[in-house]
């Protein structure tokens, strides 16, 4: 009888130990996914963390943004990317910023562009590094504060970050 209860105690102790080991990891993951506001998104190394830092609790809707990437990129070191936002770019209604987030890069936030009514057209082209086949997301914030996004899937044949930069 005494042996049984002792066994029960040991089982409970082991269960508690397993729970204790599992908890910190889960708590850690939570902290990365929900970063404190004000943290520079470039220091957050998950795409979810970067997104949360950009949106800061706001919702984003699909539309108004067009992200153009090649369907297949031979070389991940330099992939042409164009982002366009449907906006009159007037003083009253313009795009304030555009963020480019990578799903697989070691630094998910690739670039942030700050735009204004002087630009006349909300269209930016650049070249990005992509660490493997993935989905790239472009998030635009308009002057009314709303967030819009578009995502594009790109197959990368030779990944960046392997060697040779």
């Amino acid at each position: 009888m005494a042996l049984l209860t002792r066994q029960g105690a040991r089982r409970r102790f082991l269960a508690a130990l397993v729970a204790l080991l599992a908890l910190p990891r889960r708590a850690l993951a939570q902290a990365v996914v929900n970063p404190a506001p004000g943290i520079d998104a470039r220091t957050i190394n998950t795409p979810q963390g970067a997104l949360q830092a950009i949106l800061n609790g706001a919702a984003m809707r699909k539309g108004r943004v067009r992200l153009e990437l090649p369907r297949v990129a031979e070389d991940g070191h330099s992939v042409p990317l164009t982002v366009r936002v449907d906006s009159p770019m007037s003083d009253a209604d313009h795009v304030r910023r555009i963020d480019l987030v990578s799903e697989k890069n070691p630094v998910p936030l690739m670039a942030t562009f700050f735009l204004g009514p002087h630009m006349g057209r909300a269209e930016i082209e650049s070249r990005v590094r992509l660490n493997g086949t993935q989905r790239v997301t472009a998030i635009a914030q308009l002057s009314d504060g709303s967030f819009w996004f578009d995502a594009a899937d790109v197959v990368v044949e030779e990944s960046a970050c392997l060697d040779g930069g």
Binding site: P106, A111, M119, G120, S126, R129, C161, G165
Partner: protein
């Protein structure tokens, strides 16, 4: 840092003009190792800004996700004759500028 800017010389007032900038820079990611196994420190152009007639019109915060020899193409609305000036700085505090003049009539 060698760089190039391409803008049309003449424009009508209100016309949307295209600006293309190409900068020679390795955009070191910090994830690369040399032959001795030493990590190459990260050095990217983290800040780029464009002024038109002295007014800031466009700014980019870039990271290691931008390819080496960064290229940017964007648009401006021609307002008055003036200089389009781009300025950037990397993490070793090396900066560069490039500018082009656009003449606006009408």
């Amino acid at each position: 840092m060698a760089a190039r800017i391409q803008v049309q010389r003449e424009a009508r007032r209100g016309e949307i003009i295209e600006v293309r900038v190409l900068i020679q820079h390795p955009m070191e990611t910090g994830f690369r190792y040399d032959a001795f196994g030493r990590q190459t420190p990260r050095n990217v152009i983290y800040s780029f800004e464009c002024r038109y007639g002295g007014i800031e019109v466009f700014r980019a915060a870039m990271g290691a996700g931008i390819a080496a020899n960064p290229y940017l193409r964007f648009f401006l609305r021609a307002k008055d004759s003036g200089d389009i000036e781009c300025r950037w700085v990397d993490q070793e505090n090396a900066s560069g500028t490039v500018s082009a003049r656009v003449n606006v009539d009408g």
